[in-house]
Amino acid sequence: MNLKTSQLSIKYKNSTLLRFPDLELKAGERILIKGPSGCGKTSWLYALCGIIPLHSGKIMVGDVEFSTLPIVEKDRFRARNFGLIFQEARLLPSLTVNENVQLATNFISPKEVATQIPEILCLLDLEKVKNKKIGQISSGEKQRTTIARVLLQKPSFILADEPTSALDDQRTEDVINLLIQSAKTINAGLIVVTHDLRLDPYFSQKMDLS
């Protein structure tokens, strides 16, 4: 599946207009979106997956013009096609690691996919903490839990927002390798938005928003 954007722009509440370069990404490819803090990288990522409404332009995911879908359909389409990973993990604190991962099958994915959870937890070294609540695990384990959920979600594209900016070199390497490996596992396109220059060597395709 291809992801193609053309002439995207968004408008902030203070009327500032932000225009973004066009992007084309195929399944299995990966791209690094660079730029200094405050240049609109996260806004671009949010616009790309329909979280921020567009001022102009269009987003095609396969044959679907994603940007024009109504809200409910857009939410469901996003959940099927975009797996989102943030710098800080977004998980439900009342659930265990296992249940948070399982949540990916709750609303969109077929329930049978849940049978793959043990395998995914094993792959991401989360077996030992699978029954722990989110407040009881480390930030690295939280990050891996989010990635596990995305793997179960099997989206067409993985979008990662500053996944390594607060990590040391070793952890940065671990996380980016895990993301690349995970994207390969499910044959998803990988889009990483960052100002972290350490990620440059891992990507052949790059786009600079500065």
Partner: protein
Amino acid sequence: MSVIKIAIKNLLHQPLAPILSILLIGLSVAMIVFSVRLNQQVEKRFNDNLADIDLILSAKGSPLQSVLCNLFHIDAPTGNIAIEDAIPHLREDHPFIETAIPLSLGDNYQGNRIVGTTLAFYDHYELELAQGRMIETNNEVIIGSTVAKERNLQLGDHFVSGHGIRDEGFEHDHGGELEVVGIFSPAGMITDHLIFTNPSTVWAQHEHDEESFLSTPVVLSTRDLSKYPDHEITSVLITFTGKSMQILNFGRNINEHTKIMAADPAIEINRLYQLMGAGFDITRLLAYAILIISLISIFLSQLMNLKNRIRDMAVIRMLGGKRSDVLKIIVFESLLIGITGILLGYLFTFLGITKTNQWMQESYQVSIPFLTVSSAEWGMVVLILIVCLVAALLPAFRLYKVNLYESLNQDL
């Protein structure tokens, strides 16, 4: 994983506030249910035991005490009256009085009152023998069904009565033993808890020597009673032939012109019921106040949790869930608190009934039913669930207006 399961997990994740709300709801439900059931039971008991008695003649004192003692058997007599004073009202040809039932009280057996009376009582209360026969001479008794069961008494059993209306351990020395000659069928009234004998047995029991005991006459009917004007009885229960101005003034005339007192059971019970009703109303008011506090606590905890909800909503929507899924979680949480609180309240009620029923039965011949759910209780249950729903709706509505971008930008 269903939204109900997520709601339960959320409640268990930070259980302090929900537990507090559940306890408060439980407490108020228990107070309301207990008060409603006790109120209904007391009202039913009062109405059942009024037994269409229009007037009670007894020694001067408190009319309410007279009614409680002679109709409900839960208070002490106001004293005795001389048969001489009661004779005008015991006449069979009295123009206003249809039935006159003499009562002689003052003795008990293990706390069950012994009532000296005549056949007129059994006829009026429509008591039927389940076993045995009617009383034929002194020192014979017929017992109520509950007495037979609780005191394990059977036909032919003998026992010694105690002096006083409560079991205080003072047995009569010269009255001889009483013999059970009959057992009444259950009537669902206070009569099930009483021991019946003829009026002269009560006199015989109070004689102080063997000779006097043996010379006590045998009185079985109201007509015979009039032959002993120098003896005493406790009261006369009266029903009128109808309603007229003379009958309406009958009680007042007795109170103003004779040595005895006339008490109107309907008026006295209405007065008592108003007093008790105020108590029940205050209890219920207090219970509803606690309920309102508990519902405010649900509302506030939901509101304070709104930030976490917004964050949860972001996660759920990113995974394809709808805003309505998050709203369902909030509503389920609130309803779960309400339902658990109601169940806990009924548990408290059952425990309370178990603990108090025996005492209430012995003291007031009232027992609160376990399983009868009245329309007032159903109304309370529905009201609690509706208010729980309302307590969840405002936070839910505020949440509904937050878009995904804002929810993602919540500080973690």
